[in-house]
Structure formats: structure tokens, C-alpha cells
Symmetry: D2
Subunit: 276 residues, 4 copies
């Protein structure tokens, strides 16, 4: 059976850019990491070594820098669309352009000074194709922990089960959310803020019988709070904080001393949509 | 519009295990990191907080340890199948089990002593479902570099292009490969070895007009060398080594001095299959 | 010439512990990573394989957990002293115990919920010896950036210098500070707060002719603000944000578009003390 | 009490460079990461913002690139000395120059192709001062593991000790070694090879009653094998592989199944010298 090139893509990853918007009364700061990816008719590149249709990935990087100059500085969804539109327009062999943007957190100290926030990233992925543009936005690495209101009981047990049931545990996770929009005409910044607040409010206020239930409740809360969001995926690692057994030392441990662990970790994913 | 749970999964990630096989004339060593993931009918867990169908992820970890005891120590595909079969059999609510295994590289020093090899990982993903089992294997982080036989010329230029054409550059990459099998009855170890050798031989021997062409040639070589492999995906970052401009210091630089960079990096993906 | 054991130490590193202090109106949270290190007369362990004087490092870990139970939850200097005193008292062969503690940042969301802050760590190192205890505290990874008020001009140039002078650049750094105290009777929490505020205020308010000058000014400000601090060392990497040349694309770049880089980076260290 | 500048240093860290030596019958490859650091009379920089004595760290980077061109390609000690000498000669205000070099491992595939080896680094630190030059070389991250010939018994127990004694455990570590030379006229490459082989041979062949004893034996072996080495420091983390308790599942575990852990870890340091 002959071998065929069934798919291909190429691009530039981790194009980092800082944009300073110089207003009269101070500066705004945006730090982004951008990935650009092309799909299309590039068979001759792969099979014949004919590079004539290949825009270098170095040019993709230059283009991110050049278009960052004209970009208003927010929101990232707008910048993603500008990049996708530019690349599609200039490269007829390209059928799909995928732009991924992650924005780091800087907290203002004064008009020109900032301090780094948490690892949390604001993200968007814009996929531009000949038939239209698809935008999905989200959040990565929103780390939260609660010391009350979390249990894990009544689960299935088999011969390999040693976990103790608990009505009171630490729940710690690093939330990744990713949502799609019902239309392309969205106030992206306001929508993102509502989604983020719904996630945090659910985490803080709702008792958690499992990470699964909490993840689902977050998804529901987002869809109820942000009507422009049509569907959402949430990924929640269970960053286990294990209760330390102090009994050998003659001490009780009433949920006071824990050892936080990185691996192994539980991993919970849910996907909620509006029924059509 | 009502909100629906359109998808869900859960599992345990980064279950690390070392298995020592104690033979009469020495020990064998396998170090694995295993991910386990369940999909199925878990709606009540998410919506009603009913955990009765949830096998704890801690039990998944215990099961990996317990089944590692009985496993022969190679190949990883066999261990993945054993885990998938166990979990499917014991959990009727589960429709799909996904087992991902990555094996680290240890190089034998003598009968009982080993030294760590490179970052390269041998990988497999076994997906067990009610209708059958699907196995995909691969390699991650096989880092290679060549100082001759690589060029990048004749590419498309637009107004954002500043890259200089070159007939002689360093090509450095970290190969990720992932292939599927034509049947489930495969000599996994021998097949993996043939695939890996085909990739390295292509890198070493073939001139590279572009990373795209090299990736494609690797895929062809694997499919030609290992007839049990039905399709392959290759992902090659272009780990740029930039030629340093020494002219300001009165020195030429005939491809002698480079600065290796981590970001940004090019990223090339190809997908080759046998025509059906 | 015979070979001698000229020095030795051993201990446990990265002992992670979360302590929850359960007050009537809510919970407090402290997440620490602790290193314990012993020095002393352990020659027979090394030369004769006689382990009778070796307290296992696993026991050090257990001790951190057990003593965390009794600790009040702040400040970390107090916990360090309690650990050092315990180990010195129980291990007559030990001449010096070094306790290093790093505290991660959690930001309160409500009475029982928290979100991760930045990478910044609050640190202390307590060295207990038979003659007395020495405490040094500090901060790690306090990341800041300013978009105005930073220049680098008038520096020495040699034949390898290509850097352009600039009266206006981005200054970004990740501050590590480490200070000693004039006495052991210090209000550690208040002193730390004054030191941290002095560092940030200096960064925000003072124009920077060089990272060296800024680091020195921070040290002076700390010593002026916190009279219980006798000396301070500051380490400031220069996390370069390079101005992107947009001229090839027909665009100016009036300090708007930068590429942040991780390597190479400048590294500036100063050590300020009170004259005796 | 007035505040004084009691110490200062500055430099460039993580200057990465790849040097290709183009011989008639093939290419040699050296990948280095270089740190440069100056100490000296730079008070006016810190206190008055007078930069006239400051050679920019960007120039240090350029100098590494320029001198790499003339360097023969091995050993790294020679390159360190060339850099130190250059900087001392050109910068009269500098009293000490510290050059740290780490070399990554590439394994030859053919005349022009290489594959990445392990994480192990070959290191050197050259300190050039007005009174002479000091060279210390070493190894970092030489990861080894043995499944037999390691015990830990007969240790001290207190009320916080829960560790079980064992006559047979896995010993895994990542060796860092650092040695000084008796003279400056040394065959650096041959000396390094003898030191490395002595370390590995000791690990493989000698039974280990403790990491302390193994580290000491490695130091002795190096000093016995390489007479040009005057002293050596070894740092060995105990990368614990914990025996998994399979008894709850009705299985024994005769040192077959372990869980490797990253934290916490033991940390053992020894310093051996020749008696003078």
C-alpha cells in the first residue's frame, strides 16, 4: 500500500512579546506568549523539498511583533483575530490558521510599575479558516485551595481500595477552563470576568462532595452567568494534600498537618453545553 | 436552553513505578509513569454528588502497583493492555479506559547498577473500550542535532521576512513520534526498535532542505521499515541554533559559533498513513 | 599524603508541610518547604559504615511534621528556632543544625478558601550551634517590572561592546533579599513587612541609572526602615526585555514592543552593612 | 551607624554557546553555558550612579562568543582561563573574575550528527585574581541507581523514628562532584576521565551501608586515582525509591515494586582533602 501524507501543520511556538501602551497618565502592560500554526496545501514541501510556498516561522514571529504594535492592547481575542485574518489573507495555500495566546498576570503598583501576579494565564485560541473564524477562550493554572467544605465518601471499593472515606478534607486544584462563544460579537473582557468570578464563587461557596461535582457546578455557574458562552470544558487536577499520621508520635491530627504532593494526582474533566 | 453534561472523564496521572525483575544472573529495571483515565456513565457523580460508581483515583494507583507485580517487565504495551482489561472488567459503568505509559531510559552498568540515559521516553497509549482495544506507541524527546546536510532556501518572503537563506545550518530537534499498528498481534519491542532506527538513520543520512521534508522522510522510513505500523505522526520542534554575528569584532563566522535558543521555536507536524 | 575527611553534612531537603490553624471564625493556612541539615562528628559513619550516630533523614521529616503541630503558625523564624533547638538538644554529636524554611504565598478568598499568590517566597535560615543561634531571613522571587524611570548610559565600552545606550528602558527583575538581625529579640513579622515595603517603594519611586544603583538603594532603604536589620544582601537578575527592531517593517518602536528573554541574564549582587 | 557597601559583584549568567569545530573528517561539537562575574572597585556605580567603570554584561556575552571562536574546543578549563585572563587584563577596576562553565553531553552518531546524552554536565569554575588563578572542576547530575548492595541499618532511633531498617534497598542518586587541583599544569581531560571512572566504579562495586559511606568511598577513590586532584567535595541526594506495601492486596513485595519520589529527599555532602 502506498504511503500518503494524510496531514501536516507547521508554525512558531512561544513567541513572547511585551506591549507597553503609553497613555498620558501612565502605562499599560501586556505580556503574551503566542503560538502560530498553519495547515494547508504544503505537500510539495514535504515530498519534493520545494519551499516556495513556505512562509518561514521566523516571519510568523516578526508578524506577531509588527501587528502587536497596531493592536490596542486588549483584549487578546482581538489580537488573535487580527493575526489570523492577516495570515489567511496573505497565504492562499493556507486553509487554517490557529493562533493561541496566553497572557501573564501583572499587578499594577503605580503608573509605570508592576509586580508579577500568580501563574494564572488568560488564554484564547482563534482558528481562522476560509469558512469563518472560531474563538475559544479560557483560563489556565488558577490555583485554589479550601480547608473546609470538601468531602469524599460513599465511593466504590474494590480489592485494591485502601483510601479512607473522609467528610472533611483539603481540596486543592489548578483550574483550567476553556469556553466557546455563541456568537462572534462578544464583549470578551466582560464575559471573561463573569466566567472567572462564577468559577471562584462556586469554589468558595459550594460544598464539594467530589472534584467531579465541583467541576460540574463551576461549569453550570459559568453558563448561567455568561449567556454568550455556549459550552465549557473544565480540567481540575486533584492536588492531594495528604493528612499526616501523627499517631506514632502520640499526637492527634484533627486536619491540621498535611503533606502537599505533586504526583500522582487525580485529574477530572467535564464538558458542559447548552442543549440544542 | 438547559445545560447538559456533554462529556466527562477522570483518572490518575503521574503514577510512577519502578519494577525490578530479579533474575538469577542480574536485575532488570523498568521505570514507568502511568496515567489512567475512565470515561463512562458518571452523570450522577457530577450532578447529584452520588459517588457510588466512582472508583477512587487512589485505587487506580494501587492497581498499577499491584498489576506491576505480575507484569513480566516488558513490553509496556503488554502492561497497558493488562491494566485496560482489568479496569474494564471490574467497572461496568466505564465505557472507555485510557492507559498512557512513558518509560524512562536507564543504561546498564553491570548486573545490578544502572545510569540514567537521555530524556528520551518510550511511550504507549492503550485505549480499551467495549468494542475492542486500540494501541498507539511512540517515542518522546529523542533529541538530535546535525552540523551538516541541512539547508533552508527558496522559501516565500513577504514584507515581514528578514530571515536569511542558508545552504548550511545546524538542524536540532527533539523528536516525538506516535504510531498505530495494523493488527494487535505485534512484536512490540522489535517493531519499536525498527521504527526508532529508521528515524535516526533518516536524520543522519538524508540531506534536509527543511524540517518538513525531514519529518516526512522519517515517517516514510518508519512505514517502510516496520510493516506492522499503519500510520505515524511526527512532531519536530526546530530548536534554533542561531549563527552569531562576529563581524563587529573583526571575525568571520563560518558556521562555527552559534547560540542555541529555547523560545521561540518552530514546530512541524506530519501525519503519514498507508493508502487504503 | 593521607586522605582526611575534612567536612561533612547531611539532612533532608524539600520537606513540604501544610499547617491549617483552625480558629473559631475561620482557618489560617501556612505552606512551607523545610530543609534540615546536620553537621558534626560523623566520621565513623563515613569511614567505618557505623550508623549508630545517624538520625535518619526520614526522622527529620517526621520531626518537622510533629513540631508543626505545636507551632503557632507564624512566624517562620519561630518554627525554625524550635526545630533547631529540638535537634541540637537530642543529638549530642551534632555541632550545627541548619534549618531553611520557604513559605509560599496564599491569598485569602474567604474564611476557608484561598488562591495561590505569586512565586514570591518568604524565607528564613536558622543556624543553631552550641554557642548560639543565628537567624537570617529574606524574600525570594519578588518579580517586578517598570516601564519608565530606568536608563543605562555612560558605561565602559571596549571592542566587544555593541549595546546601545538608552535613557529609557524596561527594568524587570526577580528580587532575592537576605538579611541578618542585630539581636535575636525581633518582631520578625513586622520587620519583614518593613523590609519588603522599603524594597518595593525604592523600586517604584527611584529612577534607576543601573541595576547596581537600584539594588544598592533598596539595601539602604531596608537598613533605614528596619533598625533591627544589621546587614542585607540583594541579588537582582536583569530579566532583559529587548526592544524589537520594527524598522524593517516600516514601523517605529517608541518603547512599545519588547521581547522578554530568560537567558542570558545579567546578575547583580550587593551586600550592605552598618559600619561598626 | 552609617551604612557601607560591604561587597558587590555583577555579571552575565546563562550565556549559551555552541561551537562547531570543522575538521577534515568530521565535526566536533561543544555546547556550553557560561557565567561571568566581576568583583572589584565599583562603589561609584552603586552609590553615585556613575557607570563609567561598568563593562556591560552584554559585552561579557559578546566576549564569550568572540573568544569561543579562537578556543580549540577542549578542554573547558582552557576556555575558562582564556576568558578570565582577557577580562582581568582589560578591566583594571576588577579584582576577581569568576568564570563558570557547564558542558552538555552530546553523543556522536556519525561525522556530523549527534544525539543528546543524559543530563550530566561537565563543569569548571575558574577564578582569576591579581594574585593568580584558581581552577575547580567537576560533574553535575550524574544519575545512577543500584538494585543490590545497598543497606541502611543500625542507625539512631528516637521517638519520631518510624523508618524500617533494611539490608537490601534501592540506592539512587544524582552525583555532583567538585575538585581542586594540586597544580595548574594538569591534563584536565585525562584527570576528569579518571575521576569520573573512579566515582562510577565505586558506586558499582562497593556495598553501601549508607549514602554517607558511599560518598566518602567515592571521594577516596578519586583522590587515589587522580593524583593531580588535591581535594574533592561530593553531594549526593538520596533519591528515595520507596518499597510499595502490597500486603493489603494479598501480594508480597520482595524488593520488586517501588515508587520513586522527588521530595523530600536526603542530601549528603562530604569534603575530602589530602593531609598537609
Amino acid at each position: 500500500m502506498p504511503i500518503v501524507l494524510a496531514g501536516n501543520s507547521y508554525g512558531k511556538s512561544r513567541v513572547r512579546v511585551v506591549k507597553v501602551t503609553r497613555r498620558a497618565d501612565g502605562h499599560d502592560l501586556a505580556e503574551l506568549a503566542v503560538n502560530v500554526r498553519f495547515e494547508g496545501d504544503f505537500d510539495a514541501v514535504h515530498t519534493a523539498g520545494d519551499n516556495s510556498a513556505v512562509l518561514p516561522t521566523d516571519t510568523m514571529k516578526n508578524t506577531v511583533n509588527a501587528l502587536a504594535k497596531a493592536w490596542s492592547g486588549e483584549p487578546i481575542e482581538e489580537f488573535g483575530c487580527q493575526l489570523a485574518e492577516h495570515f489567511l489573507g496573505d497565504n492562499p495555500r493556507v486553509s487554517r490558521v490557529r493562533i493561541e495566546i496566553g497572557q501573564s498576570q501583572w499587578i499594577r503598583l503605580d503608573r509605570h510599575a508592576f509586580t508579577r501576579g500568580s501563574e494564572e494565564k488568560q488564554t484564547t485560541e482563534v482558528v481562522g479558516a476560509r469558512g469563518g473564524t472560531d474563538i475559544q477562550s479560557g483560563i489556565e493554572s488558577l490555583i485554589v485551595l479550601k480547608t473546609a467544605g470538601s468531602a469524599f465518601e460513599g465511593y466504590k471499593k474494590d480489592r485494591y481500595t485502601t483510601l479512607k472515606e473522609t467528610s472533611d478534607r483539603i481540596l486543592a486544584t489548578a483550574i483550567t477552563a476553556r469556553w466557546a462563544y455563541r456568537t462572534a460579537k462578544v464583549a470578551f473582557g466582560a464575559c471573561r470576568q463573569r466566567a472567572r468570578e462564577a468559577i471562584l464563587k462556586t469554589f468558595v461557596e459550594q460544598d464539594s462532595p467530589s472534584v467531579q461535582h465541583t467541576a460540574h457546578a463551576m461549569g453550570e455557574a459559568v453558563l448561567n452567568a455568561a449567556l454568550d458562552i455556549s459550552e465549557i470544558r473544565l480540567t481540575l487536577p486533584n492536588k492531594h494534600c495528604l493528612l499526616v499520621d501523627l499517631a506514632p508520635f502520640g499526637l492527634d491530627n484533627l486536619n491540621e498537618i498535611f503533606v502537599p504532593t505533586d504526583e500522582p494526582h487525580g485529574l477530572i474533566e467535564v464538558y458542559l453545553a447548552r442543549q440544542t
